[in-house]
């Protein structure tokens, strides 16, 4: 790491100097009240919001910076008043906050072309539209295209104010870069990075969130290699630029929207198969890994695309990163994901181009308005809601049929509810989505792919409960169904020994026990079956997945005790993982168990998460073995995996003495965050998860 990067780390990460420039938080509805009075359309409002944000920004440039921009406006305003939004909610399905989020724009569409060319393209479309005021469709399109032009103008003006500030503080290089971009397309790596920073910054200022970077190593490669070949950069100077860019992702991230501090979706995907079967991992991918390894920062979060031919050396590099305890990389298996996406109707070239959304969902850059996390199905709930019928069942298979119906019923309900989705228009995002200009259609109304993904949570709790019911109620007849229901009703009060047996002696998913794992295969198949062939009202399909997001905490809060010995309110496992309190044989059994389901059918996203004790990362030899372990899960048909290097004692100490662990980073669900900044419920869950650490 160069002394310059050390200086930047000190400035922005340790001292957080940028915070001194920030305005105080403002009432987020202040603008909306004005917009309501003026009776603006939603499109007009989004443009006005961006204008508000960018015009209120006070440019701050350090004389030594190569990649500039930092946020001084703290609050991004809403465009609707609370009352207006309540009205919209009555008419529409609102996903999360009603914004376009968690998709991957094709940044290169702007970076390569530059705004001048984009303007021409938009004007070209405008020219062929009639200006007949009677033609409603045509005038709507004109209005939309003019809004796009306005967005380009706003960003241009904003960039120019930054250029002037750069000049004022004597940073002539930065000023020079900003004199070319964004008007012109980027001509070198530094310009491309500054351009990306600008666009990304403006996305956050537009209230879009979970703005993933996608295949950075691919769309940035031509700039990188051109500079290398022309002697403008060497690897060291390129690395320094990448590191500065990575640091820039962390400057304002505490202002970004998310469920928890750190959940901002700034992920990046490296490598992956090309359509001709070659590997796309390149020198730039390697430098990104190195940068992440050296900086040890939360953002960007690294995903690695792997396949059966990925050498173990590649996994070793990933494992070195895991060792840092940041909770990434996360691995995605091309051999499972690409066929899965094709099966779901994604065109081959798009399937090969997949990226990972904010957490783990697989989406297509520049072409997907998928909502991959539209809702979550709870397997645990499917079992719980079936329990009252257990006493009527004479055989375990009968009960399974009831659970199957419950899974399907829940799936149908979730699919039915996701109708008539409304999202605020996202003109800037649309400029990087294919066909938005040509069709003059905002991405919020749809794009090439409009599929909805449904998470599947509480799988291991459901499987373990069913396995326990099979064993103790039907096979061994240790207690009757009625007795079980009574025990569950009373949260096992007075029956602690039975609960103890259920928790620690009963069969569990993750022990490579075919009888138990077979139940998981069934549950996931039923989930996939329920979604198969159903279309949403945007013409897309529904995709089943194994992720959990915050549902593992949310679902558990409402959930009653379960037949696996789980107490009332006790959390469900995160993502695609064994239940929290189980004592399993070990990691090998876990990956064998978890590779049994037909993962290609439930490939919406959601990794097998395994916590490994940090001593396993002690030396080169053991790191290689951890790498082999990850590879082996992929070779067995695993879809996605994420390993955490953990030390439970450290986490407990961090909870007790947060002042000593300000920079301790942990994986939460699909993202990493500073441990001491998490809500206590998440801190406790992480500590509990680590008790499983192998």
């Amino acid at each position: 790491m160069t002394t310059y990067i050390e200086k930047l780390l000190d400035r922005f990460i340790v001292e957080k100097e940028q915070k001194q420039y920030r305005e105080a938080p403002a009432d987020k509805y202040r603008e909306a009240v004005r917009y309501e009075k003026e009776a603006l359309t939603d499109l007009q409002r989004t443009v006005r919001r961006l204008a508000y944000m960018l015009k209120h920004e006070k440019p701050v440039v350090y004389p030594d910076e190569k990649i500039v921009l930092l946020r001084t406006v703290t609050t991004v305003p809403e465009i609707f008043t609370e009352r207006e939004f309540e009205g919209i909610k009555k008419e529409h399905y609102i996903h999360e906050q009603g914004k376009v989020c968690n998709i991957n724009p094709a940044y290169d569409m702007l970076i390569a072309a530059g705004f001048d060319k984009k303007r021409e393209e938009i004007k070209g479309v405008l020219q062929v539209l009639t200006d007949d005021a009677e033609d409603v469709e045509s005038s709507e399109k004109r209005e939309y295209l003019n809004a796009l032009l306005e967005v380009l103008d706003l960003i241009t003006e904003f960039a120019d104010r930054y250029r002037k500030e750069a000049e004022r503080v004597g940073n002539t290089e930065a000023a020079e870069v900003l004199s070319r971009i964004p008007a012109k397309g980027a001509e070198n790596f530094r310009e491309a990075l500054q351009f990306l920073r600008l666009v990304h910054y403006c996305l956050w200022s537009s209230f879009n969130y979970h703005n993933t970077f996608g295949r950075f190593d691919q769309y940035m490669y031509s700039y990188y290699i051109n500079d290398i070949e022309n002697g403008i950069l060497d690897k060291e100077t390129a690395l320094e630029l990448i590191e500065e860019f990575f640091i820039s992702c962390n400057k304002d991230s505490d202002l970004y929207t998310g469920m928890q501090q750190g959940d901002n979706g700034q992920s990046m995907v490296l490598g992956g198969l090309n359509i001709d079967g070659t590997e796309s991992y390149n020198d730039l991918s390697d430098l990104c890994l190195q940068a992440s390894l050296e900086l040890k920062l939360i953002d960007p979060k690294i995903n690695l695309r792997v396949n059966k031919n990925t050498p173990v050396e590649m996994y070793e590099k990933g494992t070195m990163l895991t060792k840092q305890g940041l909770g990434f990389p996360q691995y995605a298996n091309d051999d499972v994901i690409i066929p899965a996406l094709k099966r779901w109707g994604y065109e081959e070239q798009d399937a090969y181009n997949y990226v990972v959304a904010a957490c783990w969902e697989f989406i297509i850059p520049g072409r997907g308005m998928d909502i991959p996390n539209v809702n979550g199905l709870s397997f645990a709930h499917a079992v719980i809601s079936s329990m009252e019928k257990l006493p009527q069942c004479t055989a375990f298979e009968e009960f399974l049929e009831i659970v199957k119906a419950a899974v399907s019923e829940q799936a149908v309900e979730l699919m039915e509810s996701a109708k008539n989705v409304y999202m605020e228009p996202a003109p800037l995002m649309s400029l990087m989505m294919e066909g938005s200009i040509g069709r003059a259609q905002d991405v919020s109304k749809g794009n090439k792919y409009n599929n909805y993904g449904i998470h599947g949570t509480g799988l291991s709790t459901a499987v373990d409960s069913l396995a326990a019911i099979e064993k103790y109620v039907f096979k061994e007849r240790a207690f009757t169904a009625e007795e079980l229901l009574t025990m569950l009703d009373h949260d096992f009060a007075g029956k602690e020994e039975v609960q103890n047996m259920l928790r620690f002696e009963a069969p569990k998913m993750g022990n490579d026990d075919d009888a138990v794992d077979g139940i998981a295969v069934k549950l996931l198949d039923w989930f996939a079956d329920s979604l198969e062939g159903v279309h949403n009202d945007r013409g897309g399909i529904f995709r089943a997945g194994t992720g959990s997001a915050m549902y593992y905490i949310w679902h558990a809060r409402a959930e009653v005790p379960t037949a696996d010995g789980r107490r009332r309110g006790e959390a469900l496992a995160c993502n695609y993982s064994p239940s929290l309190f189980t004592r399993l044989n070990g990691p090998i059994s876990i990956i064998k168990s978890f590779s049994k389901p037909h993962l290609m059918r439930v490939a919406n996203g959601g990794p097998l998460t395994i916590e490994l004790h940090d001593t396993l990362f002690r030396n080169e030899d053991s790191i290689r073995k951890v790498a082999m372990f990850v590879k082996s899960f992929m070779d067995m048909g695993g879809h996605q995996m994420q390993i955490n290097a953990v030390n439970r004692d450290k986490m407990k100490d961090a909870k007790a003495h947060p002042e000593n662990y300000r920079n301790l980073i942990v994986r939460v669900w699909g993202w990493s965050g500073y441990f001491v900044e998490l809500d206590e419920v998440y801190q406790d869950h992480i500590i509990e998860r680590m008790e499983l650490g192998m």
Binding site: E496, E497, Q499, N500, M501, R503, F504, D512, R583, N585, G586, P587, I588, S589, K592, L616, R618, N619, D621, S622, K625, V626, M628, F629, S632, M694
Partner: protein, 283 residues
Amino acid sequence: MSKEGIIFDIKEFAVFDGPGIRTTVFLKGCPLRCKWCHNPEGLSVNPQLMISKNGCVGCGRCREVCTHLGNCVLCGDCVKACPNRLIKLCGDRMTAEILAERLLRDADYLNRQGGGVTFSGGEPTMQSEFLLECLKRLKSMHRTIETCGYCQTDVFARILEELDYVIMDIKLADREQHKLYTGVDNSLILDNLEQVKRSGKPFRIRIPVIPGVNDSEENYRQTAALLSGAGNLEMVELLPYHKTAGAKYEMVGRTYRPEFDINQVPNLDTEAFSQVGIECRTM
């Protein structure tokens, strides 16, 4: 009839117990009484209760259910009663047949990862007939033991025959010192070291580095001399003493009295080995 043994743990994904990814089986019982032992539950060959006080909520249920107060017969009632499973019955009786069956389930996997199975302890050769039967049943896997080398030489020879790889401790080269700190004389150990060297099987030597006990340059030189010329020696590993070694004593009702300064920084200079061409690294 398959031989019955007593094991106290089976650990999957062992990465420090031989080549590749391995499963390690811990056999109960050890003839040595090293003052730094960090696996006190491996000392006695018999099953015993292990009680973790950390996390105990003091509910008293273990005492309520006990019908053999003060005269434990390992009935396991308290194990089942503890709501947090803090009481463990350490030591499972298991036949070689059952154990081998369990291990063979992962044979394909472990073979693919260049690994296999490792028998550790305790001292695995203490249950020699059980160990031998296990090894014979696991011929399709790569087989290793972690041994202190204290075993009758003829028995050791039969075990060695069944192994693909050996990991052996040489704790102290000096006979008197060895007796002082481990309770036994090292002559059997050194005889068995010679057998390992002659066997031609690849082996690795481990030295648990105990400050002030065996970390002198002299001990390292003497150990290196014992090993010189062994072409099948892969390397020597120095395992620095861990201050957490005493953690499990209370759980098995023992008191940890190390009799050396646990805060002293150990000498980890590998030169005595590298000078005579032996690869040596610190773990």
